[in-house]
């Protein structure tokens, strides 16, 4: 589509819209609703070395303008993803971003090495920020030195560019971003979910079996925008932004903040046709705002952005 093509490390995106990891499975279900080839990319569900069942149910709960989830990285494991899911995805003209998770450094390294060899995996997304895994997954995402070290190890074995997915549950997101950039990350994806909780009025107990869960949806968008804004001005690697995106307008807001592409998570549950809908609406919105190419909107919120540097309206 005109004005939407974006080039990022490892990724030639016909448009900058992609489903966020964990909100789209491996694409099978949505492929029955529309042709996945229209998407810019697909971020597949987190893959771990061994299969995981994940957490007990209930795994989701609704909150004001958001939802909590504690899926617990359920996935069929590396072998099945490599031998079944990825080959199945080859029928589409669709670069895959493979989300890599684990509980130990070696897990990440193994999964990253193997996934990066798959023909249609054009980039890895290092998930150091899942709040729902107990064994310490969260620590990777909150301690800069640990994140940097892991990034470096994964970079060493990966055959494709590595994007690191940042957790918003940190005191200093810029510090985290710089650490993984130092570790060799080719890009960032952000934000993962905010750690939250809901209690049942009758029993007083957590609504989620896992007690706490990750908050996503429109409620978190202001936090995501702020973080993309801060990080994009502090690093020189590109950012795939996400957190509460529901419309073409939200996509532009993330570009203004400094993102170079945008992922859609929770909104896929509210409207399974949301990604094609946004892709279709973007050209008209860009036109209305006076941009010929979506990249012109990038970083317009920045402190030092030249006034009307790109703007033609």
């Amino acid at each position: 589509m005109k004005g939407l093509h974006i080039e990022l490390p490892g990724l030639q995106l016909k448009n900058p819209i992609m489903p966020a990891s964990g909100c789209f499975g491996f694409g099978r279900e949505f492929s029955r609703l529309y042709d996945l080839s229209i998407l810019g990319s697909i971020m597949i569900k987190a893959t771990t070395e061994e299969p995981r069942f994940g957490n007990p149910t209930p795994r989701v709960a609704e909150t004001s303008a958001g939802m909590l989830n504690a899926i617990g990285l359920q996935n069929p494991g590396l072998d099945k993803v490599l031998n079944e899911e990825l080959p199945w995805l080859e029928q589409f003209d669709l670069p895959v971003i493979a989300n890599v998770a684990g509980s130990k450094e070696e897990d990440y390294v193994t999964v990253a090495r193997e996934l990066s060899k798959a023909q249609n995996v054009h980039a890895l997304e290092l998930n150091i920020s899942c709040p729902n895994v107990k064994e310490g997954g969260i620590a990777f995402g909150t301690i800069p030195e640990v994140a940097k070290r892991l990034t470096r190890m994964v970079k060493e074995v990966s055959e494709v560019p590595v994007y690191v997915k940042l957790s918003p549950n940190v005191s200093n997101i810029v510090e985290m971003a710089k650490a993984v950039e130092d570790g060799g990350a080719d890009g960032l994806t952000m934000i993962n979910t905010l750690l939250g909780m809901r209690l049942d009025l009758k029993t007083g107990k957590p609504v989620l079996a896992n007690r706490t869960g990750g908050l996503s949806g429109p409620a978190v968008k202001p936090v995501a925008i702020r973080m993309v804004y801060e990080v994009s001005q502090a690093v020189s690697i590109p950012i795939i932004g996400m957190g509460g995106v529901e419309s073409a307008e939200d996509v532009i807001e993330f570009f203004y903040a400094g993102a170079s592409a945008v992922a859609v998570g929770t909104a896929n549950f509210v409207d399974p046709f949301i990604c094609p809908g946004i892709i279709q609406e973007l050209p008209e919105l860009l036109h209305r705002l006076g941009y010929e190419h979506i990249s012109e909107s990038r970083g317009r919120s920045w402190n030092n952005h030249g006034h009307f540097a790109y703007h033609r309206a």
Partner: protein, 259 residues
């Protein structure tokens, strides 16, 4: 095929205490194949509430491209839905899930249909299909109390119907299992939908029968993509194998999944 459509409200009425019967029209109704399938409903335009609500299909009118659902107004979502009136539109995603296997019952057989509370509605379309196929149906329906009872007449037109209420204000006092104890009905297979406790009791009681249970679980996507509604398979109760209630279910054969 799964569609998303703004369907028009043909009628909405309160048929029992906080129980609403809502009839919607649109192309989507033509896609509905099996009783026991459900739809996923967005009750408002904005993000209040954010997520869709799963509700079973209670009856299908293919000719007029309409379907009816029956739901209890409970929380924010269903109470907003109950405020809508004929002529307004509702955003429906569906049909979802597998539905009850009507074909499992052969003509001449007797099917026991056991429903509890808001698990009763999908049994209505099921019962219609079964009777159409020459199957004798017996309905066993449990409710909280007299005020909550609905569709007794409708079920009676299709076959024998027994009601239980928890407080004894109507029909047999107690649960559907109490009716079973008293009645000992003869049957060839069972279809059931209702609270998990009821499903568990039935599964235990009839573990060797042809029993089909419709499950409920908190849902995200409703289409099988988010892994919110997963349950263990019965043969691997703590392993990795699983079924999704939304897309593999909501109806499972007894012994298939852990409930």
């Amino acid at each position: 095929m799964i569609r998303k459509e703004k369907m028009e409200i043909i009628s909405q009425k309160e048929i029992a205490a906080s129980i609403f019967e809502l009839t919607l029209a649109g192309e989507l109704a033509a896609e509905m194949k099996n009783p026991g399938q459900f739809v996923h409903i967005k009750v408002s335009e904005g993000f209040d509430p954010l997520l869709r609500r799963p509700v079973s299909i209670a009856s299908i009118d293919e000719v007029n491209k309409q379907f009816t659902m029956i739901y209890r107004s409970e929380g924010r979502g269903t109470s907003l839905l109950s405020e809508k009136a004929a002529g307004q539109k509702v955003d429906v995603l569906g049909p979802l899930g597998n539905g009850f296997p009507v074909e499992e019952a052969a003509a001449g057989e007797t099917a026991l249909l056991v429903g509890g509370g808001i698990g009763v509605p999908p049994l209505y379309e099921l019962s219609k299909r079964l009777t159409e196929n020459g199957i004798t149906v017996i309905h066993l329906l449990g409710f909280q109390n007299k005020e909550a009872v609905f569709y007794e007449k409708e079920f009676l037109q299709l076959g024998e119907t027994y009601i239980a209420t928890a407080d004894g204000s109507y029909g047999t006092k107690g649960f559907v299992t109490d009716v079973l104890d008293a009645l000992h009905p003869g049957f060839d297979l069972i279809y059931t939908c209702g609270p998990t406790g009821m499903l568990r009791a039935l599964e235990k009681r009839y573990e060797h029968e042809r029993l089909f249970l419709s499950l409920e679980e908190r849902m995200g996507c409703g289409i099988g993509a988010c892994f919110a509604c997963v349950c263990h398979t019965a043969d691997d109760p703590s392993g990795f194998s699983y079924k999704k209630v939304c897309s593999d279910g909501p109806v499972f054969r007894a012994g298939e999944v852990l409930i």
